[in-house]
């Protein structure tokens, strides 16, 4: 290999940093374009990861070490503004007016968090004591005690599953997959922090797909006395004292249910990122009906986009856990390596 082939990675979250590190290690000339001021993506905001309870910072640090070891060029606070298609190559223009040639491109623009204000009946940004799982995770990471808006210890907390997922009215048919276990994880964390609090989880289905998840769910019920109620929330209303009245149907007992709680946590789902949509336009890629990027083959080529030379890594293709994202990024690196070797 006389001159290393060039790869551009767009999006420097978990998938983007991992695929870039691996390709750099394999000797490619990698440039990572990140829109934020630092890489690491949403992982930087997470407190602890399921199922191990390991601090997210440890995983982030590990990934960051790899980045530093395999020094490659990272351009932060930059967007991709234009793409010119060559014969088997690309010319990527950035918002910083750089023109970067590439033999292959990796798109790892990730997901966006469902905007809970779109589900106005749940009262997010209307009522102070309605927060999202992301808000809760950020607060847990900051290490501050979890309180109501008035600063009191919450006595009753309700977790609401499937906010913006599997919801035709929001236009999202897909399951975001990670929120069920996130709910179990966060409920358990709160139960540990607030042993006196009553915690309820309102769910449609609980999808405990990972090997240890089922035991987490069991432990949440048996050890932490978290109550799981099968029923979707219809609406939340605020009482004069700032507590919330929530209405749902307990579909196992077949009765409508009303409950007074101090804090409501909305387990918000994953939606295709705005940047992902933007990349789909720039690179003229096919998207699934739910908006995530389409892979060339759902069994065999899960890292290839509908355009030759453009590879996909991570949650731009659909909801994934952090672990799955890392796997997907690694398989992307290998796929790109093969592609560039045979080019």
């Amino acid at each position: 290999m006389s001159k290393p082939k060039k790869v551009i990675t767009i999006g420097g979250g978990v998938a983007g940093t991992e695929v870039s590190s691996l390709l750099a290690e394999l000797g490619y000339d990698v440039t990572l374009i990140e829109k934020n001021s630092q890489t690491g993506g949403k992982l930087n905001g997470w407190s602890h990861l399921f199922p191990t309870g390991r601090p997210a910072a440890q995983v982030a640090e590990f990934l960051q070490h790899k980045v530093q070891r395999n020094s490659f060029k990272t351009i932060c606070q930059t967007d991709v503004s234009q793409v010119v298609f060559g014969n088997g190559s690309f010319l990527v223009k950035t918002s910083g007016d750089e023109r970067l040639p590439a033999d292959a491109v990796v798109i790892s623009t990730g997901f966006d968090i469902f905007d809970a204000t779109r589900k106005e009946e749940y009262g997010y940004s209307v009522y102070e004591n309605v927060i999202t799982s992301v808000d809760l995770e950020n607060r847990l990471k900051a290490g501050a005690p979890i309180t109501t808006a008035a600063g009191n210890k919450p006595c009753r907390i309700a977790f609401i599953h499937c906010v913006g997922s599997r919801d035709e009215k929001c236009g999202n048919h897909h399951c975001s997959k990670v929120c069920c276990v996130t709910g179990v994880k966060q409920a358990t964390e709160l139960a540990k922090q607030l042993p006196q609090a009553e915690i309820f989880c309102f769910y449609m289905d609980l999808r405990m797909f990972g090997l240890p998840y089922e035991s987490m769910y069991r432990e949440a019920q048996e050890k932490y006395n978290i109550q799981f109620i099968r029923g979707r929330l219809s609406e939340a209303a605020e009482n004069a004292d700032g507590t919330l009245q929530i209405k749902a149907e307990d579909t196992l007992s077949g009765r409508p249910l009303k409950m007074q709680v101090d804090l409501v946590v909305l387990l918000v789902g994953m939606v295709p990122g705005k940047n992902t949509a933007h990349m789909a336009d720039l690179f003229e890629l096919q998207r699934e009906p739910n908006g995530f990027l389409q892979t060339e083959d759902p069994h065999l080529f899960k890292n290839r986009s509908s355009r030759k030379g453009v590879f996909l890594a991570g949650t731009c293709t659909g909801p994934m856990t952090v672990d799955e994202t890392l796997d997907h990024a690694r398989s992307a690196a290998l796929d790109i390596h093969h592609y560039l070797q045979n080019k």
Partner: protein, 608 residues
């Protein structure tokens, strides 16, 4: 002269249609309620009859409403309807003048040029002959346009045109043939007897030059008479029933007969008054979702043929856009709701669990409505505003109250709805309140039309907040925000409230005028009345509306309906707000601005 044989098809057809119309009119009138019949008898001698005659002239003959929609389309209808009407009237006068009496056989006026082959004499004779030719020319120009419209409806401002069925085709063909055949028949007679005028005589001369006229005279008059006869006989099974029935509709409406929540004679009259002009097709937003068989014209047709499917009946937003465009003024929404009530099995819950305790006494009852509970920032804004204005109000459905009942009525569940209505009515009447404020146009419609709340003003919050502003109870402040205002269907077309929301908004923001607003406003697509449409189809309807908003680049989209707000929010990045939120946002900012600055505490002073 003996009655020629060729006049029989015409005479038989005419007798048939006249007796048919008499019989169905009697059946329809018998199917009205007793009070409706009394009303009609009482009003017949009054000014309502004169007004009805005037309206018949303006709408059934001159077609003023169609003129407004498109002048060419209007001319086509006027030339045919008014022209034909005058042709009959002037033809009769011509015969009456000629025979110096009004008692002559009817065929003699219809087939006057055959009955009286002698050329016109004197001023009156020439005047009539010229007039009759002029009227025939007028009608023929309309027929020509009608031919052209069949092939190119866009030239008439219509994107779509209705599909014809067998009865329609027969009647249409007959109608298209009547006047050209009349021209030929009169032309042939003119060629033989020189009794034509400026149109028929040249036609006759031309025909005489190329055809053996004596052989043709009888056959062409036969053909003309047959065309008339076929048209009359086909009329009951075609859309042309609207011509006589529309007149009946105009009279009944002027006498004060209104649509009821069950099918009656008036419903039948309205159904048969539909001319299937297809103007309603263009205004229907279901087209945006590619749904093309549920529009009002098709539903009326199926009701008439008693072949209506649930799919067609329920796949409608009840937005009322077709109704405001209907040149005949048929109550399309009410007919559809009535039909839903008639065709749905009553779900009929007892609602035993609805028990009313004593209502608190208040000046104003506030009813947010189910949809407002799903958009809590509207509810919250209203509460804050009512508190700020120190209104003595009772929030009736804050914790527990049944639905207003309108969605049930729209779904055809009238009996169930009436139970909810009775329950809510008791609560409101017990409170002693004189004003009922609602936040949802769907509730507003049913409270003001079906609740019968004596001495209680029903007001949408747009009206009520405007009243509070006008009384000086809410401060105003104009911000430079540019907004578009979306008229909710039930508030706008449904209840005629267009100005109050705009006046209120004008106090707080800069309002942009849109192309489709007020009566022409689109439906957001979220309507509860459609229980057949898919979410994706709704989204397509919504996106089409949002596209128009985008053209005006507004800072905010403002509406007065929680359902519209919910629907739009899901489809756009632009902020969507209810009027109440706009007002509260401004009022709360003014409150903050008016407060004296709070002394900043030093960090060490902050109580831990």
């Amino acid at each position: 002269m003996e009655t020629p044989l060729f006049t029989y098809p015409f005479s038989i057809g005419l007798m048939f249609i006249v007796s048919f119309l008499l019989v169905v009119t009697c059946i329809w009138l018998a199917a009205l309620s007793k009070s409706d019949r009394k009303l009609i008898l009482k009003k017949i001698p009054g000014p309502a009859s004169l007004k009805a005659i005037g309206e018949t002239f303006m709408e059934a003959l001159l077609h003023r409403k169609i003129f407004r929609k498109n002048p060419v389309l209007g001319y086509m209808h006027t030339s045919l309807a008014f022209g034909w009407f005058l042709l009959i009237v002037v033809g009769h006068l011509e015969a009456a003048v000629h025979y110096h009496t009004f008692s002559f056989p009817l065929w003699k006026s219809i087939f006057f040029r055959y009955a009286e082959p002698a050329p016109a004499t004197g001023f009156a004779g020439h005047f009539f002959a010229t007039s009759m030719d002029f009227l025939l020319l007028l009608i023929l120009s309309g027929v020509g346009l009608a031919y052209y419209k069949r092939f190119n409806s866009r030239a008439f401002g219509m994107k779509k045109t209705t599909q014809l069925k067998v009865g329609d085709r027969i009647a249409l063909t007959a109608l298209w043939l009547i006047f050209p055949l009349r021209l030929i028949a009169e032309g042939v007679s003119a060629g033989l007897h020189r009794n034509g005028s400026f149109l028929t005589q040249p036609t006759g001369n031309l025909l005489a030059a190329i055809l053996p006229l004596p052989l043709l005279e009888k056959p062409v008059w036969w053909a003309y008479s047959c065309a008339l006869g076929v048209f009359f006989v086909a009329m009951p099974v075609s859309r042309y029933m609207h011509i006589p029935v529309e007149v009946l509709l105009i009279f009944l409406r002027r006498y004060g007969v209104r649509s009821q929540k069950h099918v009656n004679g008036y419903t039948r009259v309205q159904v048969f008054s539909c001319s299937r002009c297809g103007i309603c097709l263009d205004s229907c937003q279901m087209n945006h979702a590619n749904i093309r068989n549920t529009q009002s014209v098709y539903v009326l047709k199926q009701i008439r043929g008693r072949r209506l499917s649930d799919e067609q009946l329920f796949n409608c937003l009840l937005c009322g856009r077709c109704q405001k465009d209907c040149p005949v003024g048929i109550d399309l929404n009410d007919i559809r709701i009535t039909q839903r009530i008639e065709s749905t099995a009553e779900y009929n819950s007892t609602y035993d669990y609805l028990k009313n305790g004593p209502s608190p006494q208040a000046d104003v009852v506030y009813f947010a409505g189910c949809m407002t509970h799903l958009t809590p920032s509207i509810k919250k804004s209203m509460q804050k505003l009512l508190n700020y204005a120190q209104v003595n109000y009772w929030f009736m459905d804050e914790h527990k109250a049944p639905c207003c009942g309108r969605p049930l009525i729209q779904a055809g569940q009238l009996e169930a709805a009436q139970k909810l209505i009775a329950n809510n009515r008791d609560k409101i009447m017990q409170s002693g309140a004189r004003t009922l404020v609602v936040s949802c146009p769907i509730c507003y419609k049913v409270f003001s039309e079906d609740y019968k709340l004596p001495n209680v003003r029903v007001m949408h919050h747009a009206e009520y907040l405007l009243e509070l502003v006008n009384q000086g109870l809410l401060p105003v402040h104009n911000s430079p925000k540019r907004v578009v205002y979306h008229d909710p269907c039930e508030l706008g077309r449904g209840s005629g409230i267009y100005d109050q929301p705009r006046q209120l908004l004008g106090q707080y923001v800069e309002l942009i005028t849109m192309k489709h607003e007020k009566e022409d406003a689109f439906c957001c697509g979220g309507s509860l009345s459609n229980i057949k449409i898919s979410m994706q189809e709704r989204d397509r309807i919504r996106d089409h509306v949002l596209e128009e908003f985008q053209q005006y680049r507004p800072d905010q989209v403002v509406t007065a309906c929680p359902l519209c707000k919910k629907t739009f929010t899901k489809g756009t990045e632009v902020e969507v707000r209810d009027l109440a939120e706009i007002v509260w946002e401004s009022v709360s900012q003014q409150i903050i601005a008016a407060q004296p600055p709070v002394k900043q505490l030093e960090p060490e002073e902050v109580p831990s």
